[in-house]
């Protein structure tokens, strides 16, 4: 990557939600052999929800809630999950000639995330890269990232997180139950962080931008110069504004199904049910690095004592999610406590928990 020209900086400030997505697609698709590598900084001027390239909007997002609250739902050409976005995030969008970035996805994230980590550290936040593409502060995720190919451009996008509305994020997702939504909210609070949370108050945008540009100059070893959008980029952005707001684009069947909600690379929430002879067992499970971090058990079975499901759930916290580990703990609980619960055997609880913790293969 020697002797490359300066990187163009486009600091666009605040733009409408759809433009905060279409602009990097436009710069990517408008790229020709002479186009500069570009770093774009932008924030949306209103809240919205972005869904991944192959997600089904109606399956992943509570569209009625979003409509009632005025949140547009916008599909992006970058993969990943549904996410709530607003002006408390500074999007850092890289649109580079493919040959000017590392060849592998992992390599591109290593470089890109290095700049986010350097920025946070310059601001006094002990961030670190959790491979492949998370940034963590003491086990909590700060911001999200993604990557895509757009004709000759490789694109890497992410954000610097001033603040994050975990309640809004939990509300916009389509989830199976109110209990599940509570767990999403709780896990977002437990396993995500922001500059506000780490520093007490979010720093000035100008200070963050300066730190970020220093980080990029250092990591990329290239000068960065302020520039402007080219006419063809702007024209394409206007075309994409229309396409990205169309029903056809939003409702395009994606077919990608993933069980549960991922909070970050190591934390996932899922719900499962199992029909035992004595009744239906429901489990809502939070899994942290392949161990049960939180569990709620309920159902329509008859049990004495009535506290048995909650007691059993408490006893399973910390267990591995494999069948053997779960069955050993449930069997031990039955032997010690001798609950009266006709038609529900230890294996039935294990089946319900495993339904909640097993990540289904995508369709």
């Amino acid at each position: 990557m020697a002797a490359q020209p300066p990187i163009r900086l486009l600091d666009l400030g605040s733009v409408p939600p759809v433009r905060s997505q279409t602009i990097y697609h436009a710069v990517g698709y408008a790229m020709d052999a002479d186009s500069p590598d570009t770093i774009m900084l932008v924030s949306p001027d209103a809240p919205y929800v972005s869904i991944g390239r192959h997600q089904d909007a109606a399956r992943e997002v509570d569209l009625e809630y979003c409509a009632a609250n005025g949140y547009p739902v916008i599909r992006r050409e970058v993969g990943g999950g549904a996410v709530y976005l607003d002006g408390n995030q500074l999007f850092t969008q890289w649109i580079f000639q493919a040959s000017h970035l590392p060849a592998t996805v992992e390599g591109r994230f290593e470089l890109y995330i290095d700049t986010l980590v350097r920025t946070y550290r310059a601001l006094g936040i002990a961030a670190e890269h959790r491979p492949i593409n998370d940034v963590h502060v003491a086990g909590r995720k700060i911001g999200g990232t993604g990557a895509a190919r757009m004709d000759r451009a490789e694109v890497v996008v992410g954000s610097l997180m001033f603040d994050f509305d975990t309640a809004a994020m939990a509300q916009v997702l389509r989830v199976p139950s109110a209990k599940f939504r509570d767990k999403v909210r709780q896990s977002l609070d437990d396993y995500m962080t922001t500059m506000r949370r780490e520093l007490g108050a979010p720093p000035d945008r100008d200070r963050v931008v300066a730190a970020y540009l220093d980080a990029c100059t250092g990591a990329l070893g290239r000068p960065i110069e302020s520039g402007t959008l080219r006419p063809q980029e702007l024209a394409l952005a206007e075309e994409l504004d229309v396409r990205f707001q169309s029903r056809e684009w939003l409702e395009e069947p994606g077919g990608l199904r993933r069980a549960g909600v991922k909070i970050h690379e190591g934390v996932r929430i899922g719900e499962g049910a199992h029909k035992a002879p004595g009744g239906l067992i429901r489990a809502v499970a939070t899994v942290l690095d392949d161990r049960l971090d939180d569990l709620v058990l309920s159902g329509d079975f008859t049990v004495v004592p009535a506290t048995m499901p909650a007691d059993l759930a408490d006893g399973l916290i910390g267990s591995g999610v494999d069948e053997g580990a779960l069955l050993a703990r449930v069997t031990d609980y039955y032997r010690r406590e001798r609950p009266e619960i006709p038609g529900v055997e230890p294996g039935d609880w294990v089946a319900a928990v495993q339904r909640a913790t097993t990540v289904e293969a995508p369709a």
Binding site: G79, T104, I132, G146, A148, R149, G254
Partner: protein, 150 residues
């Protein structure tokens, strides 16, 4: 020798090296296309693939499918124009990692009835020339291939 830094480059296929696409001309005049070993390594484990429908005509450079891996999304471009005759959707439905396991065999992506073949102005190579081009490219990219199936 068809393996360089772990990357398998079968010499009997035709390649678009910059696009990382292989082509196998079939006896009936159609072309089978897929991701190369370097391509599946660079993108990582597939999570989802959305195919364009058979019967659709595509120009050179347009995508035959959109691929999503765990961390990246992008097109699978065709080096030659033509009409999509068949896709390998069923194999991917049965095993989404089929291209990561077997990119040149069971992991093919689409079969195309080309507008013209061979294509005079396409930058396609085969045999020793393909190997030489890929060796240089693999070195330039610093790539080490692996079949990321498990």
């Amino acid at each position: 020798m068809t393996v360089h830094r772990g990357c398998d480059i079968p010499p009997d296929l035709v390649y678009d090296v910059p696009r990382d696409v292989w082509i196998r001309p079939l006896p009936d005049g159609t072309l089978r296309l897929g991701m190369t070993d370097p391509a599946q390594t660079r993108s990582g484990k597939l999570l989802h693939i959305l195919f364009k429908k058979p019967g659709r005509h595509v120009e050179a450079g347009q995508s035959l499918a959109t691929i999503e891996t765990a961390k990246w999304a992008g097109p699978f471009p065709t080096p030659v124009g033509g009409t999509i005759v068949e896709t390998n959707e069923a194999s991917y439905a049965a095993d989404i990692l089929v291209a990561n396991r077997d990119p040149y065999g069971a992991g093919w992506i689409a079969r195309l009835d080309p507008d013209a073949w061979p294509v005079a102005d396409a930058d396609l190579v085969t045999g020793g020339e393909a190997l030489a081009r890929y060796e240089a490219r693999i070195e330039e990219l610093g790539l080490n291939c692996f079949r990321c199936a498990d």
